[in-house]
Symmetry: C2
Subunit: 333 residues, 2 copies
Amino acid sequence: MKKLINKPDDVVREELEGIQIAHPDMVKVFFDPNYIVRADAPVEGKVGIVSGGGSGHEPLHGGFVGMGMLDAACPGAVFTSPTPDQMLEATKAVDGGAGVLHIVKNYTGDVLNFEMAADLAADEDIEVEAVVTNDDVAVQDSLYTAGRRGVGVTVLLEKIAGAAAEQKRPLKDVAEIARRVNAQGRSMGMALTSCTVPTAGKPTFDLPEDEMEIGIGIHGEPGRSRMKVKSAAEITEMLATPILEDLPFEESDEVLAFVNGMGGTPLIELYIIYNELSKILDKRGIKIVRNLIGPYITSLEMAGCSITLLKMDEELLHLWDAPVNVPALRWGI
Amino acid sequence: MKKLINKPDDVVREELEGIQIAHPDMVKVFFDPNYIVRADAPVEGKVGIVSGGGSGHEPLHGGFVGMGMLDAACPGAVFTSPTPDQMLEATKAVDGGAGVLHIVKNYTGDVLNFEMAADLAADEDIEVEAVVTNDDVAVQDSLYTAGRRGVGVTVLLEKIAGAAAEQKRPLKDVAEIARRVNAQGRSMGMALTSCTVPTAGKPTFDLPEDEMEIGIGIHGEPGRSRMKVKSAAEITEMLATPILEDLPFEESDEVLAFVNGMGGTPLIELYIIYNELSKILDKRGIKIVRNLIGPYITSLEMAGCSITLLKMDEELLHLWDAPVNVPALRWGI
């Protein structure tokens, strides 16, 4: 295992220390239990937004804490759900009196733990709504999941719901918008290589030197099929077609197109995938009105990509374009 | 070779097509010769800033074209200097009457070609100044380089000189600021793995499964030494010490600390390196006043990192904090 780490057991704690030292203007980091909150939390009268999940998907979720996105993130161990006490403390820390929205990726551990945290928060008179993302069209049920997995849509949802909360909309509205984003978004991913969980010390799965896996999960869970590595054009088609046919996306739809890197794939390749995707959508008369290209929901150093399409409407566009100030998008101060 | 590409020869062209389609609000892309200019170029009365170099270091340079940074970038083939005709066309496209600054990383091909382009531009009555970056303390002379290599400082310089140009300062001043950034900045990098140039089809160098290379260049040029993989703390020390002692950086200095990913290294590891770096600087009484953490000057999918320290002063801080709007930092519109 080749990684820029010290002890495998210390990876998450030391990463959080790095975030704390790097971004004190934006976030506060708490330890034992671990959670990250925006520096000015709680914001009076604003719905607090909390997400979280296993570490190893950075910048998701900690890099998205700040003005216009999340109020808090709960990082678990690598690829392991955070615990209810992390979620409860984060929920309490961001409660500004308008209730708290939990954004939960659909993995069994995350869902159960967030439910338990919501119950505990209710005992302390904090109103909580939960939205579960399940946008991955690759497989129904999987390792760690009943139903579909929550993947790329989570990034977009955190931005859009965050903007709605920033406008001081009530909890019910923010939750409704978040559910609409999940309902209108679909994703699928693929891997060229595996990744290695630091405490495991060896690759999560084996993939021969000339093969790829289509439909992979963000923890390396099995996808749809393995095959010889194909061209960028063929790979994009294999990801885009199931996405397009699932919602379905139709002629004259306006979409946000998100090409995500899995962590070990350079930007130059993501732009090639985006170029192919734009041709596919163009042929179907679907218009890309916004895009996002880069590594935003990753799987450690896995090489590969995922595509997420989100059907946009005027309200979602407006919220997508709203200002945001979070570590993952930081430059300068 | 596992990559998300079509034909190896088409990588750069298709990447540029992707950029063109993705960011028409920010940049215009021209082909044969290839160059990227900001959408509103030329800006009347503003010094135009042109950089460029081999592709494979994305987002450098094309991702930095836009308000507050570069007016144009010239992408060569992967790890290959662009040609004088690309540089000349870019220079003409961004000349707003106040002259043009060329930002050149110190590699023999880049330096010669930018000199030739400057001569050709002079024939067309465009005043050009060139600033050469040579911040890599790892080695003196190297494959492709006489003297030190230009690496991470280039990113910071493009931001800071770009801000100075945006204020409509004269060419002489913008060039002076750029030279100061180069003079006050030092870098060093390391690799855990090699990278593969698409047209070569095999790794640029071989690195055994348990070894790393310290002082590596951004094209995989040889560094200072190979050794067994060490801890993040030891690696950071091995990179930071030669940087600190070279300028030298001294107690009570204020610095911008830039931890750069080489393309295949996930963000979680970069924050661990940043955490170690902050401890080292703290011990020496050096204060980090700004930071940048992420993959900004990469080497395709190479795993590894580099550290750049830039000694700051009030003017550089002010310019660093100025607004910027470029594809590499894009979110939403």
